[in-house]
């Protein structure tokens, strides 16, 4: 699902000149997450997948629900926010409704945290699909 999310976010922010999407994973370098080092670059975490029975059946051929969680990180200058930041936040959240992403339950929200002069947005996408 990370590939699809990466593609959807790339499309969603394509008109915003101040931001870019990185295909790299949000790893840390010298104890600093890459998204803090490379501000205004959007990073998408790997999939975290859990599976549960949506509809249990007596013959054990259950309808399975795949719950995929991805985190998306974006850091900006806390003192001088980019002018396109509100559009970027809306565009990232809108990725949940794009083809290839939308399924029977798709949710997205975010938290923000300021540390020193860096404001970091952590988006969480909860993308569910089913396996029959």
């Amino acid at each position: 699902m990370r590939t699809e999310l990466l593609s959807a976010i790339t499309t969603a922010i394509s008109t915003l000149t101040q931001f870019a999407v990185s295909s790299e994973l949000p790893w840390e370098q010298n104890g600093m997450p890459l998204y803090r080092k490379n501000m205004k670059k959007i990073y998408v975490s790997p999939d975290v997948l859990t599976q549960s029975a949506l509809i249990p059946t007596l013959d054990h051929v259950n309808v399975l629900e795949n719950n995929t969680v991805n985190q998306v990180f974006l850091s900006v200058d806390a003192k001088n926010n980019p002018t396109q930041l509100p559009q970027a936040i809306a565009a990232i959240l809108s990725a949940r409704d794009r083809t290839g992403i939308v399924n029977f339950v798709t949710e997205a929200d975010y938290t923000q945290e300021t540390s020193e002069d860096v404001l970091t947005y952590t988006f969480e996408f909860r993308l569910n699909s089913i396996t029959t």
């Binding site: 509809i55 249990p56 059946t57 007596l58 029977f104 089913i130």
Partner: protein
């Protein structure tokens, strides 16, 4: 210690077997087993006629003929629901059995189809199909009722 009918192990699951024709199902391989059952209920409702008398403080009762039915819910399986014959069984899918008001023979196995497994059997008509789906459980499911024609008979494989 009592021995319960445990349907958890794969070999002892509850099974609904369907066939057509006018003679009772003779074998566990006749017709087909309905896939993806969510639950199943065997109803044997003996009718009761009650009356009161002035000389008694309690009601009196007499049995009247029973109304029997099998009620279940299932997930629609594309290989068994709309098809004109399920696999090589020669028996139509549930939708056709209902639409054509076909007399079906059935067995409900309580603990698998092994030797010794208990079942109730009978014949009747499939009714009360009501396929439904919703956005938070996007798989079609439907209730199904077999309105039993006559007695439910108990047996063992």
């Amino acid at each position: 210690m009592p021995t319960y009918y445990n349907t958890s192990p794969p070999g002892t699951r509850a099974v609904l077997q369907l066939s057509t024709g006018t003679t009772a199902i003779a074998s566990t391989t006749t017709g087909y087993q309905v896939a993806a059952l969510q639950n199943i209920t065997v109803n044997n409702n003996v009718g009761i006629f009650n009356w009161t008398q002035l000389d008694s403080f309690s009601q009196y009762s007499l049995p009247t003929p029973a109304t029997n039915s099998i009620a279940a819910n299932l997930v629609l399986d594309s290989s068994t629901y709309f098809v004109s014959t399920v696999g090589t069984s020669g028996v139509p899918g549930i939708n056709a059995l209902s639409n054509n008001a076909t007399l079906v023979q059935f067995r409900v196995y309580f603990d698998g189809v092994r030797t010794g497994s208990r079942y109730v059997a009978g014949q009747g008509y499939i009714t009360a199909l009501a396929p439904t789906v919703n956005p938070t459980a996007p798989v079609w499911v439907t209730p199904v009722t077999i309105a039993v024609d006559g007695d439910l008979t108990a047996g063992a494989v």
